[in-house]
């Protein structure tokens, strides 16, 4: 797979070389000013400190790295120097976990300032957050907590995304959550809710296919139908990860644990999605039971192959 996307619009590319151009086009449309850099985004990996040296030395084309900005919200020191070194050789994505967009309050101004500082310094190809809350009344809960999908929640989330995008002066992508609870209070279907938020706020969506699978399994809904319903033009990034059954409740309660390879059923959903919308920058997340870098790179190659195969004819 020739993933050299240095030239965003190669003249008359052979069909097997279309991915970079398509990804580049999508990236240009998404981010505008980072078009040339995003041109090479294919499949990426979450960056773990244990893999820093391997990641720095890796020259796989199309590879990019994603980090949680919260881990780099420091005044100085080696962490920022590490990230700077990585950024010098790989595109970067900042994937926030703590902006608490779904809390019934404005995003924390200091947190937003620190995020803006990182965005200005590292010029990430992608910036994303979650449809969740965690910071509330002066305390932070290290989790992605759910909300009932109501008009009040929608309006609050739209306003908070707006504040974030205004402060960062760029579009962000918002990720669909994993669900473990059945709410009686939902007034919207989730895809409907996300699309409504995206259209009103101008944000993009980060579609986590593993979250879709885990949620559908836990709530007894149809993951395929969910994936089919998301409008192609809103999807800026895709996440893939492993899940595991709850130790007590087994397969009746799947946990979005990021501690295992991507499951076959999730790969199948991913292919179904790519078949409809075409390639998008895709991240493999792994946070626990961390294998060697080479093993993650091999799993990442599986996503890269599917992205290559997903090049649709221009007419599609």
């Amino acid at each position: 797979m020739p993933a050299n996307g240095a030239s965003p619009t190669p003249p008359s590319p052979p069909s097997h070389a279309r991915l970079p151009a398509r990804v580049a086009r999508a990236a240009r449309e998404r981010t505008g000013r980072q078009g040339a850099m995003s041109a090479s985004l294919s499949a990426g990996l979450g960056l773990k400190p244990a893999h820093f040296d391997a990641a720095l030395g890796c020259r796989t084309s199309g590879l990019w790295f994603e980090v949680h900005p919260e881990n780099y919200m420091v005044d100085g020191g080696p962490r920022l120097a590490w990230l700077e070194a990585i950024r010098a050789v790989h595109p970067l994505s900042l994937h926030g976990v703590a902006l608490s967009l779904a809390a019934a309050t404005d995003p924390d101004a200091r947190h937003l300032d620190r995020l803006a500082t990182l965005v200005d310094r590292f010029e990430p190809a992608l910036v994303s957050e979650h449809l969740a809350w965690s910071a509330w009344r002066g305390a932070y809960r290290p989790d992605l907590l759910p909300v009932p999908r109501t008009v009040e929640a929608r309006d609050r989330i739209v306003a908070n995304i707006g504040r974030t995008q205004d402060r960062l002066r760029r579009r962000i992508a918002v990720e669909n959550p994993s669900h473990y609870l059945r709410f009686d209070e939902h007034e919207f279907d989730e895809v409907e809710f996300l699309v409504d938020i995206a259209r009103r706020s101008g944000c993009a969506l980060l579609l986590d296919v593993n979250n879709v699978f885990v949620s559908a399994s836990n709530l007894g809904s149809d993951a395929g139908q969910y994936v089919d319903a998301v409008p192609a033009d809103l999807v800026a990034e895709i996440h893939l990860a492993g899940h595991s059954p709850d130790p007590q409740f087994g397969a009746a309660l799947l946990i979005d644990s990021h501690d295992a390879p991507v499951a076959p059923a999730v790969w199948a959903l991913y292919e179904r999605l790519l078949g409809r919308i075409g390639p998008r920058p895709t991240l493999i997340e792994r946070d626990e039971n961390l294998p060697a870098f080479a093993e993650l790179l091999a799993e990442r190659a599986l996503a890269h192959e599917r992205l290559s195969a997903a090049c649709l004819p221009e007419a599609a």
Binding site: D108, A139, L181, L253
Partner: protein, 259 residues
């Protein structure tokens, strides 16, 4: 349906084991999946403490540490999402934690872990070159103060060999071994990239304390000499300079300082 804020108040309370008064949250808390959130919040806090206090964890063992950390997390959630900074109150918690009563050094070891983290993430600055101070004539030196580097941390531990216990644990030595039981001080610096550490006597600690509150070199030296046994002050200052403990020379007459 109650407001989003009321929902979040009730949900947040139920996460820490409170009985939800809100009917909607009570229905959620009764489902098996609610434990996923409870466990994740608790695990996230405990993991952060274990990462921030590695020497404590090694001294007491992972199981004991995580049990103690769970008690702390329930009493004091992180104030903000930068978990590197979580646990400011953990040393004091350990000092008062009844099961740790037989480990009177634990709180001080925790303080050193915290100092290491602070040094690790402090602002960047070029350390003062050792030659800069020596180049000053005596009159000028008397009107000069030394500004500690943003990453420099120091502390005196009364009656506890906290630095020895901490540094041996940090180095991964399973058995702490023979330790002379007496007070000692510690100096942490980050001249280039990584944090370095060494012991520091009471004279050195007092000297740095004086520098940090803005005293000139001469005044700091007088304070330091009053603090302990006769000492070779020029050797002390040289050692501090070589460790990268200072960022700048400032003239006492010029509040803006001169670099």
């Amino acid at each position: 349906m109650t407001t989003l804020a009321a929902f979040q108040d009730a949900f947040a309370g139920a996460l820490l084991g409170g009985v939800p008064r809100d009917a909607a949250v009570a229905r959620l808390a009764a489902q098996p999946g609610f434990a996923v959130y409870r466990n994740t919040v608790l695990k996230g806090g405990i993991d952060a403490l274990q990462a921030n206090f590695p020497s404590v964890a090694r001294l007491v063992g992972g199981e004991w540490f995580r049990a103690a950390a769970a008690v702390f997390v329930r009493s004091e959630l992180p104030a903000h999402p930068t978990l590197l900074d979580y646990g400011a109150g953990f040393p004091a918690f350990l000092r008062d934690f009844a099961p740790a009563a037989g480990l009177p050094y634990l709180a001080d070891v925790a303080r050193l872990d915290r100092m290491w983290n602070e040094a690790h993430v402090a602002a960047d600055a070029k350390p003062l070159e050792p030659g800069r101070l020596a180049a000053l004539d005596p009159q000028r030196m008397a009107r000069t103060r030394l500004r500690p580097h943003p990453a420099t941390r120091w502390r005196w531990f009364e009656a506890v060999p906290a630095y020895t216990l901490w540094s041996r644990s940090r180095a991964g030595e399973g058995e702490v071994g023979e330790v002379e039981w007496q007070g000692e001080g510690a100096l942490l610096t980050r001249p280039f990239g990584e944090v370095r550490h060494a012991t520091l006597d009471r004279v050195g600690v007092t000297f740095l304390d004086a520098c940090a509150r803005g005293a000139g070199v001469e005044e700091a030296a007088v304070a330091a000499l009053a603090a302990g046994a006769p000492a070779d002050l020029s050797a002390l200052v040289r050692r501090l300079l070589e460790a990268g403990a200072f960022a700048a020379l400032e003239s006492i007459d010029d509040p803006e300082g001169s670099r």
